[in-house]
Assembly symmetry: C2
Homo-oligomer: 281 residues x 2
């Protein structure tokens, strides 16, 4: 017998992974959660039919969503993370001794629970004493904050289902207000390749660039996401992601990474012409 | 009715494209050629079951295999291209007025013939008077050359089937001999992500670095290749691909590109840690 999981990247493109067994199959009030065990990718975590992470390549996503801000901002102490219930982003953030406080806002308590049980490679630091988890809507949480954070990370799903409100101009304005005057916002920015993803990337950039003085986009290779070409946004009130990079300081910290390094950091902001055109830089 | 083409990226990973119709299905003395028409990618050109190019993203591969050498070497006149029967590499090379002579060595005459008939978007410049096509084995052709070329491009298939000899140390030594004293070799370098591809990338780099004084690798996003994370080698007798880049000179040429630009050129040589480890830089 063969068991295959298939994700539709578009109506005309399918990506399929051979499954050893299904570990979780649960409908929560917010979404459908599935976890599979696979030969190629180890554990595969799926929300509403879309791969969120695999054990084999999650390090790329989680390193790239966290470390660039730390190589630019000289002292990140207070952090807000929205989404990220699998814990991978938290695992990377807790590598920094300078970090004093992390508020994590995840709408779906079950994501954290199943991650703790079945995805220990990402969930391993969710019990760090600096981490404070709030199970509520990210947009509502941010609305009530002001001048509190050095860094906000929006580790959202796609602009569908429970994550939709995290792609509005109103939300980005609330993030601006919640950040200190030298604060940085990093957000999941979709992909430039397939039409729907590219339209989302364009829309996100237009909204953020209307709110923040510095709004740039960086790219990375994410093999299990559609097209493998994925983007994050580096949005900031003060620091430029390349001009203000402090390579030697970051290197001195001795943070162990498998994808990120400071040369790659600078390189990842050099985008292809067709991506620049989509974003209308 | 639905018709789907599936490529096995590994034994456990499949990539499938919805097909409108099959245009070519031909067994040559060297390989199986298929061409499909698709909604998502336009024409899709397949050799021995592996996607060689699609109309939607071939520009990425063909721009990245050609333009970096021209932004570094001040005067490329004589070029040898091995493989590349679809014509996409030739299309990009013929954008340069400085180019005087291009020898193209393609083992399979039928690849050129079907490309001219069905892939005009890549084959459009194969009749340029500067292009001289030889239908023979690339390795044998190079063996007989000495001090003739400014640039050699090895636009090969994977290290399987008719392309195998293009991945030997002997072949790279013959390329060294065939190049001028400031010559550059650009080669298809596989991918770092899936095990077999990564082993090939490691093997290629080890062999080339044993022959040329400068042997570096650069990366790009190739959505229809396995993992979307693909590599080319920039190997050189004299010029460093980043240290010797002449951005202003290249920009002055006014070459139109959809992926390549000189900022991205420099950035593409900044590799992730896990790739550096595979290549043992």
């Amino acid at each position: 017998m063969e068991l295959w999981f298939t994700e539709n990247h578009t109506d005309n493109v399918r990506f399929s992974i051979k499954i050893k067994r299904q570990i979780v199959n649960e409908k929560t009030p917010y979404q459908q959660i599935d976890i599979f065990d696979t030969e190629e990718f180890g554990k595969v975590f799926v929300l509403d039919g879309y791969i969120m992470l695999t054990e084999k390549d999650e390090f790329i996503y989680h390193e790239m969503i966290t470390h660039p801000a730390f190589a630019v901002h000289p002292c990140i102490k207070n952090i807000l993370v929205i989404g990220a219930g699998d814990g991978g982003t938290i695992r990377e953030l807790t590598k920094y001794d300078s970090v004093e406080h992390i508020d994590m806002v995840e709408i779906d308590e079950r994501v954290v629970a199943v991650s703790k049980e079945f995805l220990p490679f990402t969930a391993c630091r969710l019990d760090d004493p600096r981490v404070h988890i709030f199970y509520q809507d990210g947009m509502e949480y941010v609305r009530a904050r002001g001048n509190e954070y050095d860094l906000i990370i929006v580790d959202s799903t796609d602009p569908l289902g429970p994550g939709t409100s995290l792609f509005t101009r109103e939300f980005y304005s609330d993030c601006f207000k919640a950040l200190h005057e030298d604060g940085i916002l990093i957000n999941q920015h979709e992909s430039p390749f397939y039409k729907n993803d590219a339209e989302a990337a364009k829309s996100i950039h237009g909204k953020i660039a209307g709110v923040f003085p510095i709004a740039l986009v960086y790219q990375f290779h994410m093999p299990t996401y559609p097209s493998g070409h994925w983007l994050f946004g580096f949005t900031s009130k003060k620091y430029h992601p390349v001009g203000d990079i402090r390579c030697a300081d970051w290197d001195t910290l001795g943070i162990k990474t498998k994808y990120y390094n400071t040369a790659l950091h600078a390189g990842s902001f050099a985008l292809p012409n067709y991506v620049l055109e989509i974003l209308q830089y």
